[in-house]
C-alpha cells in the first residue's frame, strides 16, 4: 500500500529505484512530447518555408520581379495568414492526440538555437541579397535550404519519437 511517505528516508537502493522509475516516466513523456506533426502540416510548413524567400524577395525587389510588388505583398500576407490558421488547427489536434502541452524545447538548445537564429537570417537575408544583386538564385538557394531544414526537422522528430517510444 502506498503511504504518504511518513518521514522514512529510503536506502541507497530504494533511492536508486525511485530515480530509475522517474527516469522511465520521463522517457515516456519525452516520447509523447516529441510526437511529430501530422504529414499534412509538415508538408504545409515545408511549402511555407520554401515560399518565403521568393515571395519576400518579390516584395523587396527594387523593380517589379515577375509580378507587381503589391501582388507579392498580398501573397505574403495571405500565405502567412493561411499558414498561421493551419498551425492553430494542427496544434489543437496535436494536443488532443497527445494529451500533453505543445513545447518548443524538446530538442537540445544547441540544435534549436542555431535554427531559430540561422533560418530567419537565411530566409529573409536572401531577399535583401536579391534586392542588392538582382540575382534570383539567392532566393531559390534559400528556399531549398528552408525546405531541407523543415524536412530534416520533421524526420528528427519522427526518429526521436520512435526511439523514445
Amino acid at each position: 500500500m502506498e503511504t504518504n511517505g511518513d518521514a522514512i528516508r529510503p536506502t541507497a537502493q530504494e533511492a536508486l529505484a525511485a530515480l530509475s522509475d522517474a527516469e522511465q516516466v520521463k522517457a515516456s513523456a519525452t516520447a509523447l512530447a516529441a510526437t511529430p506533426w501530422p504529414r499534412w502540416f509538415a508538408a504545409a510548413l515545408t511549402l511555407y518555408t520554401a515560399a518565403v524567400p521568393p515571395v519576400y524577395g518579390g516584395t523587396l525587389a527594387r523593380h517589379d520581379w515577375l509580378l507587381p510588388q503589391g501582388t507579392w505583398s498580398v501573397i505574403m500576407v495571405v500565405m502567412t495568414a493561411a499558414y498561421l490558421s493551419l498551425f492553430v488547427v494542427a496544434a489543437s489536434n496535436w494536443r488532443k492526440k497527445t494529451g500533453v502541452a505543445l513545447r518548443f524545447d524538446v530538442l537540445p538548445r544547441n540544435v534549436t538555437l542555431p535554427l531559430v537564429i540561422g533560418l530567419p537570417v537565411v530566409l529573409l537575408g536572401s531577399a535583401l541579397v536579391f534586392r542588392a544583386t538582382r540575382e534570383p538564385l539567392w532566393l531559390f538557394a534559400a528556399s531549398a535550404v528552408g525546405a531541407a531544414t523543415s524536412i530534416a526537422f520533421h524526420l528528427v522528430f519522427v526518429r526521436l519519437h520512435r526511439k523514445a517510444s
Binding site: 511517505g5 529510503p10 533511492a15 530515480l19 522509475d21 516516466v25 494529451g99 502541452a101
Partner: protein, 101 residues
C-alpha cells in the same frame, strides 16, 4: 562569514516521495502540462488512485488543475506549480545524494 552549503538531503520531500506521486511529478516536469487521462494512461493507474494523489499534490501547492472543454466534455489538465517544480528537483537531488553517499 559565509553560510554553510545547503545539504541536498534538506530537499527530501515525503509528499513527493510516494511512488505514484514521484511519477506524476516526473511526467508533469517533462511534459509541462498533461491531460488527466494521459497521466492515468502513462502511469497505468485508475482514475480514483490518480485523483487521490493529485489531490495530495494540489493540497501541498505542487500541482494545479485547469479545466478545458473538449468535444463537449470537460477535461482536466494538470501542471506543476513553480514550488512543485522546485520541490521535485530538490527531491531528485536528495535521492541522488542518498545514492551517492
Amino acid at each position: 562569514m559565509s553560510s554553510p552549503a545547503p545539504d541536498p538531503m534538506d530537499g527530501f520531500d515525503t509528499t513527493i516521495h510516494a511512488p505514484n506521486r514521484l511519477r506524476i511529478c516526473a511526467l508533469l516536469d517533462t511534459a509541462g502540462e498533461a491531460e488527466f487521462a494521459t497521466v492515468q494512461q502513462q502511469l497505468g493507474v485508475s482514475a480514483s488512485v490518480l485523483s487521490k494523489h493529485v489531490t495530495v499534490l494540489a493540497d501541498a501547492g505542487y500541482v494545479e488543475q485547469r479545466k478545458a472543454v473538449r468535444d463537449t466534455r470537460a477535461r482536466v489538465w494538470l501542471r506543476l506549480t513553480r514550488p512543485g517544480r522546485d520541490a521535485y528537483h530538490a527531491h531528485l537531488a536528495a535521492l541522488r545524494a542518498i545514492v551517492g553517499s
